[in-house]
């Protein structure tokens, strides 16, 4: 009757193993792990055609700019920690960057605050030359850290119309990203708002005068542009073909923003991701294992021992 022929005490050893795992968990061992993060520069068109109300989604603003802002705010929330986000505005020919990309989890409150304050009244001019603006945004994003993606949100509405799209001088596909088409394909009235954001009517074609800041080349081009009809309302729709063409020449993707999910989904696509090495804490895994072992140690197997006793 020595203890040498005792049956294997698996309950004890399971519990011991669980205790050991728990003890190791206290030290929080870490292993390197690759994880996808994103670095986005969002450039938002804030020209007045973005005030057109042609979104009809419950719980979302109807105007294009409002819809974009809310969609972005939701999308930011879903980006994994470690991702970075910068914001910029577009009117005329330039993208104006508000701040360099900030880590999204730490700075989320301030990013969403700034996003919510973006307003058409920040525009420094009312014209919009989409192509030039997009090229400008691409150039600025290209000067930043590699793997910074451009997300250019616009309805593609040119004011004034340009007969010739200026050529893209950069290298297509050098900066990755997506052009997001905002708005509906039905031509809609453009609300005319005063500085206090009160609507005073709708833009009419007669309101639009030729821009004064034309370069000689543009003046020359202007002669080729058919005169805008002087009467009637000025209508705006999503110029999808134009945006698609621009996206193709610059090597960007194109996405039409119909539902908020579309953008949220696209922004988490592996295409835009950048692997980042992070140290992952193994403690929860170890403790979870310890928990399983402990539960297993309560398994009832009384019949197992009978042959041993009988022998």
């Amino acid at each position: 009757m020595t203890s040498g022929d005792r049956p294997f005490r698996w309950r004890l050893w399971l519990a011991v193993l669980a205790a050991v795992l728990t003890a190791v968990a206290i030290a929080h061992p870490r292993v390197p792990f690759e994880r996808n993060v994103f670095r986005y520069f969002f450039v938002i068109d804030i020209t007045q055609s973005m005030n057109v109300r042609d979104y009809h989604v419950t719980g979302q603003p109807a105007d294009r700019l409002g819809f974009v802002k809310q969609t972005l705010a939701e999308a930011l929330f879903e980006l994994p920690c470690g991702s970075e986000v910068g914001l910029g505005l577009f009117t005329t020919r330039n993208a104006e960057l508000l701040f360099e990309p900030l880590e999204v989890c730490e700075h989320l409150p301030i990013i969403t605050d700034v996003l919510s304050h973006i307003d058409w009244r920040m525009a420094w001019a009312a014209d919009s030359y989409i192509a030039t603006g997009l090229y400008n945004a691409l150039r600025q994003v290209g000067q930043r850290k590699p793997a910074t993606r451009l997300v250019f949100l616009s309805d593609g509405q040119q004011t004034p119309d340009e007969a010739i799209t200026p050529p893209f001088m950069g290298k297509a596909g050098e900066v990755k990203g997506v052009v997001v088409g905002v708005g509906g394909s039905q031509p809609m009235l453009v609300p005319k708002l005063d500085r206090e954001n009160r609507q005073t009517g709708y833009w009419e074609n007669a309101d639009l005068t030729a821009p004064e800041d034309r370069t000689p080349t543009q003046q020359f081009e202007a002669q080729a542009i058919p005169e805008t009809p002087p009467s009637g309302f000025y209508l705006s729709r999503l110029h999808e073909d134009h945006l698609k063409r621009l996206a193709a020449t610059t090597g960007l993707d194109y996405l039409r923003l119909n539902r908020a999910e579309d953008l949220r989904h696209a922004l988490r696509s592996d295409k835009y991701a950048e692997p980042q090495r992070v140290q992952v804490d193994l403690a929860p895994l170890l403790a979870g294992l310890a928990w399983l072992l402990l539960i297993a140690s309560y398994w009832r197997m009384p019949r197992l021992r009978r042959p041993a006793v009988a022998r």
């Binding site: 309950r11 920040m122 420094w124 929860p284 398994w299």
Partner: protein, 328 residues
């Protein structure tokens, strides 16, 4: 306990496993001729319960720890010395020029914008207790950042605020937006608007009155870092041919002096002068300022693991002392 959260709260459901030690003994049954012969031993019963309870608590502790408990980020109000500073940054196209006045293009480092950016970034990172807001302006003011202590965000905004500018300078509406940040806020510390501009702007009569009012309402001070071209006018010396269109800076300076609130202008002709101006402001503005210090979110799971280990020990002991047959 409201300031404790869990990374994965749904995992807490697994705490139901704490029932297992009460449903199963966890001990192998032993044969005994007649249980009725054995007397009830209160101490044994007590020990049995204690071991079950401890195992049960151990399981709960493990589940709680794995669910990722943390103390939420907290803010504590402290009293520091500093100011609420709105950086009002000119983004008009003239900021692309160098101090000498020659156009250098976007990539040149020594443009007024680039120099201002460098010095302001430095300023922002050194002023630990201040609150900063950022407004950029050219033809229209742009809300860049609200008053915040998020230093990373402020320097990110300053870094990109001096990119190639464009358009004309509309200083009036920029000032109005900067003053809006102070409107309706509890006053703490000095309120400063730090205007970084190369002038070349005039303010409409109507706006002037509004600004007068807003400055006296908010009790804000104005510092103008005037990035002067070498050929530009001096603010204090009346120009030879004064005119709002030829020497707007001079008239702007005159107007600022009538605001009735503390105002100072610094003519910065080069990077060194700019640095001196910033240092001057730094020395001036150190009023007591209540500010919120953030205590970052703290992981509490280690407590759970330690507790689990402690609660597992009685179970280990009891299982180690287990007998597998009766020995008399």
């Amino acid at each position: 306990m409201t300031n404790v959260g869990f990374a994965m709260p749904w995992l807490l459901l697994a705490a139901l496993s704490a029932l297992i030690p009460w449903l199963a003994s966890g001990q192998p049954p032993l044969r005994y001729s007649s249980l009725t012969v054995a007397p009830t031993d209160r101490v044994s019963t007590l020990i049995d319960r204690a071991v079950r309870l401890s195992a049960s608590l151990g399981l709960i502790a493990l589940v709680v720890a794995v669910a990722g408990p943390y103390r939420r980020e907290q803010t504590v109000e402290r009293l520091g010395f500093g100011a609420e500073i709105v950086l009002l940054i000119d983004r008009s196209s003239s900021m692309n020029e160098s101090f000498v006045g020659r156009y250098l293009g976007g990539a040149a480092r020594e443009t007024k914008g680039a120099v201002a950016r460098e010095i302001l970034t430095d300023f922002v990172t050194r002023r630990k207790d201040d609150l900063f807001a950022v407004v950029a302006f050219s033809a229209a003011p742009i809300y860049v950042l609200p008053l915040t202590q998020d230093r990373g965000a402020v320097s990110a905004a300053v870094r990109s605020s001096t990119e190639r500018g464009h358009g004309i300078t509309n200083i009036g509406s920029g000032l109005a937006m900067a003053l809006d940040f102070f409107e309706g806020r509890r006053k703490g510390g000095a309120r400063i608007i730090l205007l970084v501009s190369d002038g070349a702007a005039r303010i409409e009569e109507e706006t002037r009155e509004r600004l007068h009012q807003a400055f006296s309402d908010t009790d804000a001070r104005l510092y103008w870092i005037y990035l002067r071209n070498r050929t530009g006018v001096h603010l204090d010396a009346p120009p030879e041919n004064p005119g709002e269109s030829t020497t707007p800076e001079y008239f702007l300076h005159q107007f600022f002096q009538t605001l009735g609130s503390p105002y100072r202008a610094y003519e910065a002709e080069n990077a060194d002068a700019l640095r001196l101006a910033v240092a001057d402001i730094e020395a001036l503005e150190n009023d007591p300022l209540p500010y919120l210090e953030k205590i970052p979110r703290q992981d509490l799971s280690t407590y759970g693991y330690v507790a689990a280990l402690v609660f597992l020990l009685p179970l280990l002991a009891s299982r180690a002392l287990e007998v597998d047959r009766w020995r008399f």
